[in-house]
C-alpha cells in the first residue's frame, strides 16, 4: 500500500492538484474568506509586528506626519461642510421659489424632504421621506410636489415620515373644482395613481383642475391636487357623476417634496375634526 502511494505519477499528481485548485476556486467566498480570516487570526502577532515596522519606516518625521494628518482631516471636514452648504443653498433657493410663486405659503414653514422610497403599486400609494418629528412634521400636514398637493403626512417617526398620497385607497380629502359656486366634495383615493369623486352633482370637463379646499391651520388657501381625467354617469343614479382624477404631477418621479408646516409646534386636529362633513 505504501509503495502504491509513493508511485503516483506526476501527471496524476498534477490532475489531483488542479482539481483541488478548481474546487477551491468555485467554493463560495464566504467559506474561503473564513479560511483567510483564520490564517490572519493565527498569525496576527507577526502580521501586526510587520505592520508596525512598515508604518515606522514610513513615519520618518513623526511631527510632520501628525501635522499632515491633521491638515488632511481639516481639509476633508471643510470639503464636507462646503458640500453641505451648497446643498442647503439649493434647498433655500428652491423653497424661496415656492414662496414666491405661492403667496399663500408666505407665512408657512416649508420643510424640504428627499423621497426615500415611493410605493405606487396597487391600492397603497405612499412615499417615505427623510424628514420627521425632529423637523417639525406632524400628522395630516399637506405635502407639496411640483407646486401641487400630492398627499398628507400619515405617519411620523423622529427622522422619517410616511406620506399618504391622494391616490392611496385610504386617502380622503375635501376638494372643489375651479368652477365657482361648487361646494366641497370628498375625493377618495382609488389606488393605481388615481382618485375618484363619487356622486358629484356637477359634471366636470376633462382636464379641469381639482383643488384641495383650505384646511385652517394646515392649508391657508385652496391648492391644486389633480385634474379630471374622466367623468361618467353613476351606475345607480343617472343624475350623479363619478369623476376620475389624476394627480397634477408625476408623483413617482419626484426626487424631493415639500411639507407645509403652517402651525409649527401647535396642536393639530385631524382633518375630519377640523372640517366636519363636506358641504356643511
Amino acid at each position: 500500500m505504501a509503495r502504491k502511494r509513493r508511485d503516483i505519477s506526476n501527471r496524476m499528481l498534477l490532475v489531483w492538484m488542479t482539481l483541488a485548485g478548481c474546487i477551491l476556486l468555485l467554493t463560495p467566498q464566504k467559506i474561503t474568506g473564513k479560511v483567510q480570516g483564520t490564517f490572519t487570526h493565527v498569525f496576527r502577532f507577526p502580521l501586526h509586528l510587520g505592520r508596525s515596522i512598515t508604518l515606522s519606516t514610513r513615519m520618518t518625521d513623526t511631527a510632520a506626519y501628525a501635522s499632515q494628518r491633521t491638515t488632511e482631516q481639516y481639509e476633508n471636514h471643510i470639503a464636507n461642510l462646503a458640500a453641505e452648504l451648497e446643498r442647503r443653498n439649493q434647498q433655500i433657493e428652491a423653497l424661496a421659489k415656492i414662496r414666491y410663486r405661492q403667496h399663500a405659503l408666505a407665512g408657512a414653514s416649508l420643510v424640504m424632504a428627499d423621497v426615500i422610497t415611493a410605493n405606487m403599486a396597487g391600492s397603497r400609494n405612499e412615499l417615505l421621506i427623510n424628514r420627521g418629528q425632529n423637523d417639525g412634521l406632524e400628522l395630516d400636514q399637506f405635502v407639496l410636489g411640483e407646486n401641487c398637493i400630492i398627499g398628507t403626512v400619515s405617519y411620523v417617526w423622529s427622522r422619517q415620515a410616511k406620506v399618504r398620497l391622494i391616490t392611496d385607497s385610504s386617502s380622503q380629502l375635501a376638494v372643489t373644482s375651479t368652477k365657482s359656486g361648487q361646494k366641497p366634495v370628498w375625493m377618495f383615493g382609488a389606488g393605481n395613481g388615481e382618485a375618484v369623486i363619487r356622486w358629484s352633482k356637477a359634471r366636470l370637463a376633462d382636464g379641469e383642475n381639482i383643488m384641495v379646499r383650505q384646511y385652517p391651520g394646515l392649508l391657508d388657501c385652496p391648492m391644486i391636487a389633480g385634474r379630471v381625467s374622466e367623468c361618467k354617469k353613476n351606475d345607480q343614479n343617472a343624475l350623479l357623476w363619478d369623476i376620475t382624477v389624476r394627480p397634477a404631477c408625476d408623483v413617482a418621479m419626484l426626487p424631493s417634496v415639500t411639507v407645509i408646516v403652517t402651525n409649527p409646534g401647535g396642536v393639530v386636529q385631524t382633518q375630519k375634526e377640523r372640517l366636519g362633513a363636506p358641504g356643511q
Partner: protein, 166 residues
C-alpha cells in the same frame, strides 16, 4: 527535499509578503517573495516536488490575497509548466533566471486574473503593477535570493560563469 524546512520557509515568506514588504515598495510595487520561491523550486526541484511546492506556494499566495483559488491554480500550473520547460533550457545563469521570474510572474498574474472571472465576485485586478511591476521587481531581486534559499533548503545550485576565450 526537506519538507519541514520548506513549510517554515513558506510561512515566513508569506508573512513577509503580507505586510512587511510594503516598506520597500517603489511606486506601489513590491517584489513577490512567493513568486521568487515558485521560480526557485520549479527550476531546481524534481517534477513531483515542483508540482507540490507550486500549488502550496499558490495556496499561500491565496491566503494573503483577495480570494482563494486563482492564485493556487495560477501559481501551480505555471510553476509546473516551468519545471517541465527547465528540462530543455538551461536556467543556471542569473539573467536567464531574472527573465524567467518576470515571464512566470506575468503568466501567473494573467492566469489568476482570468480564473478570478469565474468567481461570483471577481477580485483580481488587471493593473499595470500586478501584470508588469511586481514581476519586474521580483525579477531584479529574485536571482540574488536564490542562494540563501538554496542554502536553507540544502539544495545545490550550479551557476555557470561566462567563459571567455576559446
Amino acid at each position: 527535499m526537506h519538507w519541514l524546512r520548506f513549510v517554515v520557509l513558506l510561512v515566513v515568506a508569506t508573512l513577509l509578503q503580507a505586510d512587511l514588504l510594503n516598506a520597500i515598495e517603489v511606486r506601489g510595487t513590491r517584489p513577490d517573495l512567493l513568486l521568487i520561491l515558485l521560480a526557485f523550486f520549479a527550476i531546481f526541484c524534481e517534477p513531483k516536488e515542483a508540482i507540490i511546492t507550486s500549488f502550496s506556494i499558490g495556496l499561500a499566495a491565496d491566503l494573503i490575497g483577495p480570494s482563494m483559488g486563482p492564485g493556487t491554480l495560477g501559481f501551480g500550473l505555471t510553476g509546473t509548466g516551468l519545471c517541465y520547460l527547465s528540462k530543455y533550457i538551461s536556467l543556471q545563469r542569473m539573467p536567464f533566471q531574472a527573465v524567467t521570474i518576470f515571464v512566470l510572474g506575468f503568466a501567473a498574474a494573467v492566469l489568476a486574473y482570468l480564473l478570478s472571472g469565474l468567481q461570483t465576485q471577481p477580485s483580481y485586478q488587471k493593473t499595470f503593477g500586478a501584470l508588469f511591476g511586481t514581476p519586474l521587481y521580483s525579477a531584479i531581486v529574485g536571482p540574488f535570493l536564490f542562494l540563501p534559499v538554496a542554502w536553507w533548503m540544502h539544495i545545490k545550485i550550479e551557476r555557470r560563469r561566462r567563459r571567455f576565450g576559446y
